[in-house]
Symmetry: C2
Subunit: 150 residues, 2 copies
């Protein structure tokens, strides 16, 4: 990625020389209309990466959990996030913490794109997807059952 | 700091339960009108902190350098940043990298507050301020000399 000192935002939520990537490197089908841009990834200075994800209106991220934590700041749009058993309504600049091994999913429910920064450890474990048993447990709460996309 | 899962932005660029702090813990006088809010500081999960700084219209951060790097994203307002020998005009969502041991200073030159995220290693060295010799070297470039506040 670019090592320039100043990287201008060219179009809204697009940056000079920073490629627009697929959400997941390995493809997969358990998400809809999500892009990824890696803003800071400098192993000399941090053990973290800062990425910008954008979910198109109506889209959603993967329902997953993992040992590593996410630290999120919403930058644009409205939406909802499931974190554990709770569904949070999101607005610009809201912060979201996803603790280890906590089921989570972001949805662009506001009829507009939902864009957010996500700070994550560079060395991290692979996300786990829910088993049939996990899904049944999640669906024991009707609100969660109605929210999740799988 | 708060360990809540969802931290709403309450007023613009202010967050529920996150205190508005002085720019520098040890006081000091080589800056003007700068506040600090620590958004993410979770030693269990990251070795980095994410802070939000806001420089009031006309204010400036300290002219300094250090071994640790800064990764910055502008969130509000306009301004300029000196990084090494270059002065960059800043707009919302622009990214700035400050490499190790590089003189830098941010100024809210746009008649409005300049607010930015700054990602930094938690364990870091203390900033150095310029000596008379460093200032003379910086001022060898008239544009830099006119820009810096000391």
């Amino acid at each position: 990625m670019s090592k320039k000192t100043h990287i201008a935002q060219t179009d809204p939520f697009r940056w000079e020389g920073i490629p627009l990537l697929a959400y997941k490197e390995d493809g997969g089908t358990h998400f809809r209309d999500v892009t990824r841009q890696v803003l800071f990834d400098d192993s000399e200075h941090h053990d973290t990466q800062l990425r910008y994800f954008e979910i198109a209106a109506g889209g959603h991220s993967t329902l997953e959990r993992h040992q590593h934590a996410h630290s999120v700041m919403v930058l644009r749009g409205r939406g909802h996030a499931l974190v554990g058993g709770a569904i949070h309504e999101l607005a610009p600049h809201d912060l979201v913490r996803v603790p280890p091994m906590t089921w989570h999913q972001f949805r662009a429910t506001g009829g507009e794109p939902l864009g957010f920064l996500c700070l994550v450890r560079r060395e991290r474990d692979k996300p786990q997807r829910p088993t049939a048993g996990d899904l049944a447990a999640l669906r024991a709460d009707p609100a969660v059952g109605a929210f999740i996309r799988h």
